[in-house]
C-alpha cells in the first residue's frame, strides 16, 4: 500500500473541476484509491463522492493506493496533485 499526503493550495479548494480531473487521473489504474479529508473519505474514481468532501484550501488530503499498479499510480497522482490542486 502507498500513501500520499497533500495540503490543498488551490484557493477554491477541491471544487468540481479539479475533482473531475482527479477522477480522470485515477481512472486508468487498477488499484483501489481512497481520498481522505478531515471531512470524510471517498473513492478517487467517483466524482460526486469527491465533491461531497467539500475539501477546502489548507486541508490535508491523504490518498491511500492499494493494488498491482500502486507504485506507478502513486507517482502519477503525486504529480497530479502538485500541478492541479
Amino acid at each position: 500500500m502507498k500513501e500520499i499526503k497533500y495540503v490543498i493550495t488551490d484557493p477554491l479548494g477541491m471544487h468540481a473541476r479539479p475533482a473531475g480531473m482527479l477522477v480522470k487521473a485515477a481512472a486508468p489504474y487498477e488499484s483501489k484509491i481512497t481520498v481522505t479529508a478531515p471531512t470524510g473519505s471517498a473513492d478517487a474514481k467517483r466524482l460526486m463522492a469527491l465533491m461531497r468532501l467539500a475539501a477546502k484550501q489548507g486541508m490535508e488530503l491523504t490518498l491511500t493506493i492499494e493494488g498491482a499498479d500502486e507504485d506507478k499510480a502513486a507517482a502519477e497522482l503525486q504529480a497530479f496533485l502538485s500541478a492541479n490542486l
Binding site: 473541476r17 467517483r46 466524482l47 467539500a54
Partner: protein, 537 residues
C-alpha cells in the same frame, strides 16, 4: 400598459419584443419492462448527451468564456460518475423506465448537494439537475425550445445553466425570470453579458405573451408590458444615458487607479457583511476600506459569539484574498443602539459612551471581537481600525489588548498574522493630535460624517440644520490637510471612508492633500477610477 416589479441583477434599460421560454411538454415514457432494453436506451442517451455537452462546451469556450464553459465541463464529468451510473442502473433493475431512472437518480444527488453546508456545493445541485434533465429529455425524444428570429427579451420561470448557454446571447436584450436569485446562473450570465435583468419578478406569462413591446428598467427593477408613450420616452432617455455611461466606465475595469502625474490611489469599498464583499469584488474594488462590524450585533437579542464573528471575518478575508480589508471594531451607541448590552439611555448619545469607549470599558464585549479578527487574520489581509479615538492613551490601551489577545491565541496554537492597527479619525481631537497618533498607528482613515458633525457642532440627525452641515467647510478641509500631512510625515498611509470618499468634487482635493485610499459604496468604484485616471493632480 401593465407593469410590475422584480429583483434587478444588472442595471440598464431594454425595450423590445418578448419571448416566453417554456420547457417543452414531455410525453412520459413507459418502461419496456425489460431492464436490458432500458439499460441500452440509457447508454445511447449517455452518448447523445456527451456529444451535446461537448459541442456546447466548445461553443461556450469561444463565445462566453471560461467560467460558463467550466460549468458545462463539470456536467460532462458528472455524466460518467460511477455513483450516478450505479444509481440509474439500480433503478432500472428495480423496474423503472430509463428516463425516470435518470431523472430520479439525478434528483437524489441534487438534494444531497443542496443540503450540504457549503455554498459552492449547494449551487452544484443545479448542475446535477441540469445534467439529468438532459438525459431525461433525450430519452423522451424532446427536441427542445425553438427561438424566434431577431432580438428579444427572454421571459422564463427560471433558466438552467445549459439552457442559458444554448441561447444566442447576441440576440437577448434582457432576462426576466419569475424565480432565481441574484447569485443564480441567469444573474451571473446577465452580469457577464451586461444586460439588464430581473429575477424573482411578478410578470405573468400571459402579460409577456400578449404584449407587442416589453420593457425592463434594471435601475428600478420594473417591467412594463406595452408601455405608454410617456413611459417609453422616459425609458429611452435612460437607456441612452446608461449605455454611454457604462461603455465609458468599463474601460476602467482592472486598471490601476493612478493619476496622470503618477499618484497611486487605492479605491476600496465600504461593506457591512460577507455578502457585500462579494459585490465589492464584482465592482472591481481594490480592497475593503471600511467593514462596519456592527451588522452582526444589530437586530438580535444577544451578543454574537466569537465563532459567529470569526466566520464572518474569515469569509470576508477569503473573498478579498490578498486585498486589504479594514475592519472597524464595534461602533455601537449614538444612533445605533442594542438592548442586550444594557447601556443606559443618554442625554446626548453622539457625545456619549460609544465606539472604542464602550470597548475599553466593557472588555467582555471587545475581547471576542478581537479574538475573532486575529483568528481570521490567517486567511487574508486584515487590518483593525478603532472608532471614536480622542486621546493617545485610548489607542495605546486598545493596542495593548490586541497584543494580549494575539499572544493568547498563539499560546493556544491558533495561527495569526500581523494585523496593522489604525485609527478612524472622526473626532476633532484625533485630527489635531494626528502627529502624535501617527506614531502609534499603522494608518488613518477619516470618517468625514462624524468629523464634520463634531467639528462644526452640527447634529447630522437634525434635518433643520441642513444648511449648517457643510462637509466642504474650510475648518474641515484644514483638519483633513493636517491629518494627511501628519500621516505622510510619519510614513503611514491615510484614507477617507466617509461619504465624501466618493464625492467627485472632493476626490482630487483628497489626492492632492496626500490621501492614498478612498473607500466608498462598491457601485462607485469604476466612476471614481475614471476620475482618478483623468486627473492631473
Amino acid at each position: 400598459m401593465k407593469k410590475g416589479i422584480g429583483l434587478p441583477v444588472f442595471p440598464g434599460v431594454a425595450i423590445g419584443p418578448a419571448v416566453v421560454y417554456r420547457k417543452a411538454q414531455r410525453t412520459l415514457p413507459v418502461s419496456s419492462g425489460d431492464p436490458a432494453v432500458e439499460k441500452a436506451k440509457f447508454e445511447a442517451a449517455l452518448e447523445t448527451a456527451r456529444q451535446q455537452l461537448t459541442a456546447l462546451f466548445e461553443k461556450a469556450k469561444v463565445e462566453i468564456g471560461e467560467e460558463q464553459a467550466a460549468i458545462v465541463e463539470v456536467q460532462l464529468l458528472m455524466l460518467d460518475d460511477l455513483d450516478y451510473l450505479d444509481g440509474v442502473n439500480m433503478a432500472i433493475e428495480g423496474g423503472a423506465a430509463a428516463a425516470i431512472a435518470a431523472l430520479d437518480t439525478g434528483e437524489e444527488f441534487a438534494q444531497v448537494f443542496a443540503a450540504m453546508d457549503d455554498e459552492y456545493m449547494n449551487a452544484r445541485s443545479a448542475d446535477i439537475r441540469d445534467m439529468s434533465h438532459r438525459l431525461y429529455d433525450i430519452l423522451c425524444g424532446n427536441t427542445g425550445f425553438q427561438l424566434p428570429e431577431g432580438s428579444f427579451l427572454l421571459v422564463a420561470e427560471d433558466l438552467a445553466p445549459s439552457e442559458t448557454i444554448q441561447l444566442p446571447r447576441e440576440r437577448i436584450m434582457a432576462f426576466i425570470t419569475r424565480q432565481g436569485s441574484s447569485s443564480s446562473h441567469t444573474a451571473i450570465l446577465a452580469r457577464t453579458l451586461n444586460i439588464p435583468s430581473l429575477v424573482q419578478s411578478d410578470i405573468p406569462f400571459e402579460a409577456a405573451e400578449g404584449c407587442k413591446v416589453l420593457a425592463v428598467d434594471g435601475f428600478t427593477g420594473t417591467w412594463y408590458a406595452d408601455p405608454d408613450e410617456q413611459t417609453l420616452a422616459m425609458l429611452k432617455v435612460k437607456q441612452a444615458e446608461a449605455a454611454a455611461a457604462r461603455d465609458a466606465l468599463e474601460a476602467y475595469r482592472g486598471k490601476e487607479s493612478i493619476t496622470r502625474s503618477g499618484k497611486k490611489v487605492l479605491l476600496v469599498a465600504n461593506i457591512g457583511c460577507p455578502e457585500d464583499a462579494v459585490d465589492a469584488l464584482k465592482a472591481d474594488a481594490e480592497g475593503v476600506g471600511l467593514m462596519r462590524s456592527e451588522f452582526l450585533y444589530l437586530g438580535r437579542d444577544s451578543l454574537p459569539t466569537e465563532e459567529e464573528l470569526f466566520d464572518a471575518y474569515r469569509k470576508v478575508a477569503e473573498t478579498m484574498a490578498h486585498r486589504p480589508v479594514v475592519i472597524r471594531t464595534l461602533d455601537i451607541g449614538a444612533d445605533k443602539q442594542v438592548s442586550y448590552l444594557g447601556l443606559e439611555a443618554e442625554e446626548n448619545p453622539a457625545l456619549g459612551l460609544r465606539g472604542l469607549r464602550i470597548c475599553l470599558t466593557r472588555e467582555e464585549i471587545f475581547r471576542p471581537q478581537l479574538r475573532a479578527i486575529y483568528r481570521a487574520s490567517a486567511y487574508g489581509n486584515l487590518h483593525i481600525m478603532f472608532p471614536m479615538v480622542a486621546s493617545v492613551w485610548e489607542l495605546k490601551a486598545a493596542k495593548a489588548l490586541c497584543a494580549k489577545v494575539r499572544k493568547e491565541l498563539e499560546e493556544e496554537g491558533i495561527p495569526t498574522k500581523d494585523v496593522p492597527i489604525g485609527v478612524m479619525v472622526e473626532t476633532p481631537a484625533a485630527a489635531v493630535l494626528a502627529h502624535e497618533l501617527a506614531k502609534e498607528a499603522a494608518f488613518f482613515s477619516v470618517g468625514t460624517n462624524d468629523l464634520t458633525q463634531y467639528t462644526l457642532a452640527v447634529d447630522r440627525q437634525n434635518a433643520k440644520l441642513g444648511q449648517f452641515y457643510d462637509p466642504y467647510h474650510p475648518a474641515l478641509l484644514a483638519l483633513l490637510a493636517h491629518i494627511a500631512k501628519a500621516a505622510k510625515d510619519n510614513g503611514i498611509w491615510a484614507g477617507i471612508c466617509g461619504e465624501l470618499g466618493a464625492d467627485p468634487k472632493m476626490q482630487e482635493k483628497f489626492i492632492e492633500m496626500g490621501f492614498t485610499e478612498l473607500s466608498m459604496a462598491a457601485g462607485r468604484i469604476l466612476e471614481s477610477r475614471k476620475l482618478v485616471c483623468q486627473s492631473n493632480v
